[in-house]
């Protein structure tokens, strides 16, 4: 991509913003509007990240934006019931359900549900109106508008998204499931914003499922901010399952206070171009962070995970495991940065990234990073790129299992190390099943979609 093209995308976005500012603001909340001006100024300076940006070295973001996309500044009136075209494929999973269509929260039947135990699930717009103090405190508090152009772009444009609030001491036994659907008759760029607040000693499981339902080009540029207060526990599972013409650019920021526990699990099962940024800040002593990820790619798909685990205070632990299988002409990247700040003594941080290449055309770039400024720490990282273990393959064949089947079983075993970290059994089994189908090539299109679009 040439310099001029980059410039054009930048100018185009800024103009789009200026020309539609009224519409954008009208369709959102004043507390979100409040941050737009500064964000667009930042974006004007930063632009879309290029390959020269060390953080984006292996993902050509500009090429994503070289296509033309429609942008909606208000939810499109839809003439169908989502239930008719989409049903969740996790049968035994009883969840609190939230639906987001093209970045706008769908009434179900209300735009904000308040549970008996005080748990709130709803649209960002309505939540901002109802809980201004929470928004003032947490909205846009973590997002790096000053250093990542894509984040600034989101802050400038995001109008809605999902708000989840679990009050002090509340234990949400039923998982909260957010289904993000993309459906349009034209190519579409969506930018929405999520906020998850886990107050002191609360507990919840959040599952995010991303799907594309029509055969158009989609780009999602999504920022999610998560706060896990003292002693709270959150399991955050994100399942990306979109078609080959879709692009996901996600930026997830988490901040953990004292003795909290957070598990993130990002499962990239399908999608044309995926770039996930995950920033985990351990801000309170005794905090425990687990970051898991799995990417299964084939054809010309590209998946790039950037993670940054920031040990800002002493006595925290983090454990990171990302695994990927790359088939056909797929490309993948992993960049995991662990920072142990000065005086963050007694830190324990472990990181591992393992990759399997299945064909001569698949490519992987992996770049684990340790940056350590405290001496009394236990930190290690490891990265491997390899092929299926010959010894294990022979062992299986010697038991009568055919080569193809043995390879599938081994790949399944390879992925299961990540999937097994999911705590909800029915979800874990379901994802195992989806991974299995994916590996067998039976999930080559967006699985829950009846439209056979690709």
């Amino acid at each position: 991509m040439s310099k001029t093209a980059t410039l054009n995308i930048k100018d185009e976005m800024v103009n789009l913003y200026l020309n539609n500012l009224d519409l954008i603001s009208e369709g959102s909340s004043s507390l979100m509007n409040h941050h737009r001006e500064e964000a667009i100024q930042n974006f004007r300076i930063l632009g879309i990240p290029t390959l020269k940006n060390e953080k984006y070295k292996y993902s050509k973001i500009e090429s994503v934006f070289s296509n033309e996309y429609e942008k909606y500044f208000a939810p499109k009136h839809i003439t169908f019931k989502v239930d008719d075209i989409f049903r969740c494929d996790i049968p035994e999973l009883d969840t609190h359900l939230a639906l987001v269509l093209n970045g706008f929260y769908m009434p179900n039947p209300n735009r904000l549900q308040v549970m008996e135990n005080g748990v709130v699930i709803g649209s960002m717009i309505d939540a901002a109106a109802k809980y201004p103090h929470l928004f003032e405190k947490y909205y846009n508090a973590q997002a790096e508008n000053g250093s990542d152009g894509l984040v600034a772009l989101n802050t400038a444009f995001a109008q809605d998204g999902v708000f989840i609030y679990v009050p002090k001491g509340a234990v949400c036994t039923k998982p909260i499931q957010v289904i993000n659907l993309l459906m349009a008759e034209e190519n579409l760029l969506v930018q929405y914003r999520n906020l998850i607040i886990m107050e002191e000693s609360s507990q919840a499981n959040v599952l995010i499922c991303d799907h594309s339902l029509s055969p158009k080009r989609f780009v999602s540029n999504v920022v999610t901010e998560i706060i896990v207060e003292a002693n709270a526990q959150l399991e955050f599972v994100k399942m990306q399952n979109e078609h080959n013409d879709s692009t996901q650019l996600t930026h997830t920021y988490t901040k953990q206070e004292r003795d909290s526990k957070l598990i993130t699990n990002v499962l990239s099962l399908h999608g044309g171009f995926i770039r996930n940024n995950l920033y985990m800040q351990l801000a309170g002593e005794g905090a425990d962070a687990h970051a898991y990820g799995l990417y299964l790619t084939d054809r010309t798909q590209h998946t790039d995970n950037y993670t940054f685990i920031d040990h800002a205070v002493p006595n925290c632990t983090s454990n990171e495991l990302y695994k990927g299988i790359l088939d056909e002409q797929a490309t993948g990247a992993f960049n995991g940065r662990i920072l142990v700040r000065r005086d963050a003594q007694k830190t324990q941080a472990y990181q591992s990234n393992n990759n399997l290449l299945l064909t001569p055309d698949a490519k992987i770039r992996t770049k684990p990073q340790l940056e350590i400024y405290a001496d009394d720490v236990k930190c290690s990282h490891g990265a491997t790129v390899g092929q299926i273990d010959y010894e294990a393959l022979f062992y299986m064949r010697a038991r009568g299992i055919g080569e193809r089947e043995a390879k599938l079983l081994l790949m399944f075993g390879f992925t299961h190390e990540v999937v097994k970290q999911i705590s909800i059994e029915s979800l874990r089994e379901r994802i195992d099943d989806m991974v299995n189908k994916r590996l067998r090539g039976e999930l080559s299109r967006c699985h829950s979609c009846p439209m056979n679009c690709c």
Binding site: L357, L358, T359, R365, P368, Q369, L370, Y373, T384, G386
Partner: protein
């Protein structure tokens, strides 16, 4: 224990860099600053042919279009390239026919550095090319080596006497335009060593170059080229020191190695440039490009480095594994203390089938220093069955220093196996206590543990160097027990 540590700290932080003296000798220098005329003057002083001048001018013109790299984990102060003197040579007769013609002061200098220039005094089995500032002072054992067809001489002589070899191989591994510092070096390099081992010859002695910066305000830009023809072998050593000065001095060297079929080159460095004082004042900026190519099948390059000096180190000895079954290895111990900064590691580029490589890096940080490992392992599409294993360990002594690991793994071949492992740790109090209980002082205990930690790398050094390196590690870390 803390008290005792403080005491030891006080006692030894005063310990001097023992190579910090200045030799009082009349030096011929040119005015500071860099332009095409300066490049022409250097070339003229070296009595170079026209093609070499062209080489330099091309490099200089390209350099002017380049910017200093800023991707390393280093905090580099702005360097005024017009404030540096690009040529300085001790005044003596230009050609040396016998040892008697070496200025006694120079001889004395190298004696003091432990590098006697009289062959009979030398460690048996080591031939030395002694370089001070911009000029080679003396190359020992040349005649002995020549009997076997081995060429070992200063780069200046090589350009005059072996133009065909130089034309063929110079900049063949590290292109002039490779990076900012290689372009600069190619424009202004003043001396260095050239070594050619003919077909089937096993070099009977260790070859070594000793680099000494003496003059103030000067930069040192040496150039080393080693060519090992089919079935040959050579072990090469490089050492370096500089006086203690409050100003920072620039050192930007280029080392190229070419290895043909079934040949092997072992390159060892003990880098002990002046690191600056304990407040971070002075010291050498060391920006070095070292790269070898395993051109032939079954060829082998082994880099071993012990890095204890320099205020800033930016250096990535690399192997291009072009030949089938070729092998590259990189063994490194890098120590940073006080305000030192190091960003060092290796690159292994796998092109040939069954090419293998191994990286063992041991970083030790103390004081308020920062020590980074940065490495690239790249497997190209055709490099079937390539194998790499990298082990990068960091040891932190004290809670004000930093240890960082930045590996890059880029793999385009499904039959490759690439593995990287890194750990970070400190010296356990239980280990020190155990040693104390057996009667060792804390200082000795740390020395012992550090040497154990670095052993895998030290073992790779030739014997004479290993002992020196071991002592050096201890001295570099004096006062850093924590």
């Amino acid at each position: 224990m803390a008290n005792e540590q403080d005491k030891i700290l006080d006692e030894v932080t005063g310990s001097e860099y023992k190579y910090g003296f200045v030799t009082e000798i009349e030096t011929e220098t040119i005015p500071k600053g860099l332009n095409e005329d300066v490049v022409r003057i250097i070339s003229e002083k070296k009595g170079e042919p026209e093609w070499m001048l062209e080489f330099r001018l091309k490099a200089f013109r390209h350099w002017q279009t380049m910017e200093m790299p800023d991707w390393a984990h280093l905090n580099i102060p702005i360097i005024d390239y017009q404030g540096i003197i690009y040529y300085a040579a001790p005044k003596q007769k230009p050609s040396l026919n016998s040892l008697d013609e070496v200025d006694p002061i120079l001889k004395e200098t190298f004696d003091k550095l432990g590098i006697p220039l009289e062959e009979q005094k030398m460690l048996t089995g080591v031939a030395v090319d002694a370089v001070m500032d911009s000029t080679s002072v003396k190359t020992t054992f040349r005649e002995t080596l020549a009997e076997q067809g081995i060429i070992f001489c200063s780069m200046s002589e090589a350009i005059r006497e072996h133009p065909d070899l130089i034309k063929k191989y110079l900049a063949s591994v590290v292109p002039v335009t490779d990076n900012f510092f290689t372009a600069l070096n190619s424009a202004v390099f003043s001396d260095g060593s050239f070594c050619y081992i003919p077909k089937g010859v096993r070099c009977p002695m260790e070859l070594s170059t000793y680099f000494r910066i003496n003059a103030s305000n000067t930069g040192q830009f040496e150039r080393t080229l080693i060519v090992a023809d089919d079935e040959s072998y050579v072990s090469y050593l490089e050492g370096c020191t500089a006086p203690m000065r409050d100003e920072n001095q620039l050192h930007a060297a280029v080392v190229e190695i070419v290895v043909h079929d079934n040949a092997e080159v072992k390159y060892s460095t003990v880098q002990n440039w002046y690191p600056g004082d304990k407040d971070g004042k002075g010291g050498i900026y060391n920006f070095v490009t070292k790269r070898g190519i395993c051109k032939g099948k079954n060829s082998k390059i082994s880099w071993t480095q012990v890095e204890t000096g320099s205020a800033i180190t930016w250096k990535y000895p690399s192997c291009i594994l072009l030949g089938d079954n070729s092998y590259g290895e990189f063994y490194s111990v890098a120590v940073t203390n006080n305000h030192q900064q190091a960003d060092t590691g290796s690159k292994m580029i796998h092109i040939g089938k069954n090419s293998r490589s191994r990286i063992v890096s041991k970083g030790i940080s103390a004081g308020v220093s920062n020590n980074s490992y940065r490495g690239l392992v790249k497997v190209l599409k055709g490099a079937d069955n390539a194998r790499n294993f990298s082990q990068c360990d960091s040891l932190l002594l004290g809670d004000k220093c930093g240890a960082h690991t930045f590996p890059y793994l880029e793999v385009d071949n499904p039959s490759a196996i690439v593995e990287h492992e890194a750990t970070t740790s400190k010296i356990g109090e239980d280990q020190i206590f155990y040693c104390n209980q057996r009667g060792l002082s804390t200082e000795d205990a740390v020395g012992l543990i550090i040497n154990g930690y670095a052993k895998e790398v030290l073992n790779k050094l030739p014997m004479e160097f290993a002992v020196e390196a071991q002592k050096l590690l201890q001295i570099s870390l004096e006062g850093s027990v924590g």
